[in-house]
């Protein structure tokens, strides 16, 4: 969740975080053959004012049309260009367990230009066996894979006890972005882009809001 930005100060972090969500909404609208969308409609999905949506969009440089709003297709493409979606990023995945397997077989990643090139696991029983359309490799094969492909991202779905070690290995080999699913805060160098997908944090916040709303019903 954090640390992506250590490298890139002075861009409006919060604005940026909303942009991928606009892209999703636009994709839905495109399927329904909607031609235009207003900032007010988009604002309905978020807890912000519609002006804020316009400011966010202005980051991409895309211009709306007074009275009509934004062209769904045009804005969608502008966001794709701005975020670099479709630029074809390559990744390796570590940890062919339950979650790793789900991700490997998930087609949704390709929609965001992310292609998994190879899958690693250190369990000797798993090495060599198939998962999706991959054969699981031993981590010792990583240097070879990195030499053959220009790998941008390492996806970590290993147990949390192994995550820091694997993270150190892949960054030592020059990988510059980590997508971490293990429930811990990794330490990385300043030049590494780190994104934590932290389900436990999500569960904890849900729990907090639930507790609060129950409490409210009891109170005066």
């Amino acid at each position: 969740m954090y640390a992506e930005n250590k490298l890139f100060k002075n861009l409006p972090e919060q604005y940026l975080k909303r942009i991928p969500f606009y892209h999703q909404i636009l994709s839905e609208l495109a399927l329904k053959n909607e031609a235009y969308v207003s900032s007010r409609y988009l604002a309905g999905f978020f807890n912000v004012d519609e002006t804020q949506i316009r400011k966010d969009i202005s980051l991409t440089g895309y211009k709306g049309k007074p009275k009509y709003g934004y062209s769904v297709q045009g804005l969608k493409e502008a966001i794709e260009a701005y975020l670099g979606i479709n630029y074809h990023n390559t990744a390796v995945l570590f940890g062919a367990g339950k979650l790793g397997t789900a991700l490997i077989e998930y087609e949704g990643l390709a929609d965001y230009g992310l292609e998994i090139i190879a899958v690693f696991d250190n369990n000797p029983v798993k090495i060599g066996s198939p998962v999706g359309h991959f054969n699981i490799l031993s981590p010792s094969a990583l240097p070879r894979v990195i030499r053959s492909f220009d790998i941008g991202i390492a996806i970590l779905t290993v147990p949390k006890t192994a995550a820091q070690e694997v993270c150190d290995q892949v960054t030592a080999m020059g990988i510059k972005a980590i997508w971490n699913f293990a429930p811990l805060q990794l330490s990385v160098g300043m030049d590494v882009i780190l994104r934590n997908e932290n389900l436990a944090a999500g569960a904890a916040l849900l729990s907090y809001y639930l507790k609060k709303s129950n409490h409210r019903q009891e109170g005066p």
Copy 2:
């Protein structure tokens, strides 16, 4: 990601979001038998100043000890109490597919007080078959389950085409919190707590930062 807060204005949203991460770090430190932790150490994991950490922690009401920092165990428990972790929240899961199965078999949820009570899928082939220690139920059994258990949360791991429909069904039956893994923005009533776990958004932001850092290397 958004919309949790529509109900709860005027608490420092950003502070709150960091708190579950502190809990994770504290759990690690507790395993290593560390007795104290400083705000500076915690700040090292985030892109914020150490005073901000102290302000975040002050939300929970827990007090540190000058010269030593915060008691790892004490702060951990204070966060648990504050967030309502361990309060035992009950959930139903819809969509026993790849991701749903991974979640069902994931022990990590229990650490945050989340217990899955029942699993639903509308695929006739799957209904009745086992997943983890559950038998998959038909969605038509939902009213019965809700009558027998006090279900707080619905976890949605159905395809995005089905997500809004399932969301409407469960909220109509009185479920007040949705944990959505489908890559779309759901529309919910003002009284429903919604949390989106949006991997696609994560992939998109990674892609953006990668594009930016490559660009930088080329530039002057």
